[in-house]
Amino acid sequence: MEKSIGQVRKMIEENKKTASLTNVVEKVIPKTLFVIAVISILTTLGILVTLLSETVAFFKEISFIEFFTGTVLKPLGQNAQFGVLPLLTGTLISSAIAMVVAIPIGLMTAVYLSEYASEKVRKVVKPILEILAGIPTIVYGFFALTFVTPILRSLIPSLEPTNILSPGIVMGIMIIPMVASLSEDALGAVPNSMREGALALGATKLEVTWKVIVPAAISGIVASFVLAISRAIGETMIVTIASGSSKNFTFDITQSMQTMTAYIVEVTGGDAPAGSTLYYSLYAVAMTLFVFTLVMNLIAQYISRKFREEY
């Protein structure tokens, strides 16, 4: 490097004097990024404010009790009634059906992939499940209405052409990949030494999985279920398309029911004169929906944090 040493040095020193821009950038960037990060909080606040302001207006006209205990939802026409129970039952029943499909199948899929499948099978199956998870819900809605419903109706003649069963099932199928991949993560996080410990006692793979691995991963698995329920509760297009819009207060899954989300679509896409109770009801329902899913998400986070496996 002979005597060239010092040239670059000099240039660097030179530049340093004019490098005030770097200093400014260095000061501005963290603040800018902070503002950006705060946008996510503003989004939540925005949702809350949007929903709350109109919800408050709603509860000025309809009492809290009437809304949450009313079994009749008749937002239009003669003597309108705003009981949210039909929507709640619709939502809960469709989610329950979805979970009946998604939990066992998703969990079994997870167990298969995590405990039984060879690396090769896993490599093929997982991307396919990812595709399944990536299909737009509108496509599933179409599928529920034009494929699943006719099949179900040939099996259950009393089934209405729009019913909560078919979208419930399809929603379940849609959620399978989510349950499967989150549960598989939880199962995969159980250390191999647990499997070895159990196998060394002469346990079969099933006994290892069912009595050791699944219990050990249970918090992650349950968290995946809760997230899946939350997803089902918030799902919109499948039920909108395939479950019709009857505001029945019923537990008969062969009937058409409306979910909270489908109600929102119906009201926003339909007759909702601003300032009318109907219009406000949209926000009250959305608020209920938001609180529901928020609670579910918080529960899921709580479970997976609190009961983080200790092995």
Partner: protein
């Protein structure tokens, strides 16, 4: 029969290192013992990697057999072959044979679950299940079909006593096993193993993750267990091998270099490499 088995020991290992003479020093009492495991020309590959080479060993019942050797020499691989835990690794290929009580265990008709109820295993890192102490011990009996609560209670107590930990945990049987110290956890794992009443217990460096006091307790326990079980223990700790084992096998690069009474190995090893290893010159 006994004679034959003794003759078989190591005959295939490179002749110049181990000769039948090495075995001549076995004490008379041991001559009447039954052979638990007998490996015949056992070879094992992890894919291309030849991890066990022509292993011919006889392991006797109601003895403590120590396996020593430098890291990577195949000790764990060897004892995991004895209860076929190696099979969990997909790339493993095995040739040769292993007889357990004279039956080939590599035979597909020998159910691996059956083998493992006879041949228990304790691992390097304590690995209790994330369940209560009670459930940890009762797990084995339960999967093998014992449902009776009273019998289970008895088994749990007996096993915990057997693993010399009953007094420490009897008041907290229903607490999570992960609340215990490492040494206690390891004894829980031993108790869990005892609960299914195996004939043989394999131990893979059972004390390497433990503090000296816990180590001592487990060593004492091994001495105690020897009365009822055959024990095969892998250890890095030369002193430990010398203290607790009756026989010692020295492994190097997947081969058995020397297999003999522990006293003999540690006082007058036949092979230069055994001596080098024991005196800490390598490994």
């Amino acid at each position: 029969m006994k004679g034959m088995k003794r003759m078989a020991v190591m005959t295939k290992v490179k002749k110049n290192f181990v000769s039948p003479a090495n075995i001549g020093t076995l004490e008379p009492a041991q001559k009447s013992k039954k052979v638990a495991f007998q490996t015949k020309e056992l070879n094992l590959w992890y894919g291309e990697d030849h991890a066990l080479k022509n292993i011919n060993l006889d392991i006797f019942e109601n003895e403590v057999t120590a396996i020593i050797g430098p890291s990577g020499c195949g000790k764990s691989t060897f004892i995991k072959t004895l209860n076929r835990m190696v099979e969990l690794i997909p790339v493993v290929k095995i040739s040769g044979d292993i007889l357990y009580r004279e039956k080939s265990i590599l035979n597909k008709s020998y159910k691996v679950e059956d083998l493992r109820t006879r041949v228990g295993m304790v691992f390097q890192k304590p690995n209790p299940f994330p369940k209560s102490i009670y459930e940890n011990i009762a797990y084995g009996p339960k999967i093998h079909g014992i449902r009776n609560k009273k019998i289970l209670d008895e088994i749990v107590e007996k096993s915990l006593r057997g693993a010399a930990i009953w007094d420490e945990v009897k008041d907290r049987l229903h607490e999570n096993a992960y609340g215990l110290s490492g040494g206690q956890q390891q004894r829980i794992c031993i108790a869990r193993c005892l609960a299914i009443e195996p004939d043989v217990i394999l131990m893979d460096e059972p004390t390497s993750a433990l503090d000296p006091i816990s180590t001592l307790k487990i060593e004492e326990l091994v001495q105690e267990l020897k009365k009822d079980f055959s024990i095969i223990i892998v250890t890095h700790n030369m002193q430990q091998a010398a203290r607790i084992s009756d026989k010692t096998a020295f492994f190097l690069n997947g081969e058995v270099i020397e297999f003999d009474a522990t006293d003999k190995i540690f006082s007058t090893p036949s092979d230069k490499r055994t001596e080098d290893y024991i005196t800490g010159r390598f490994g």
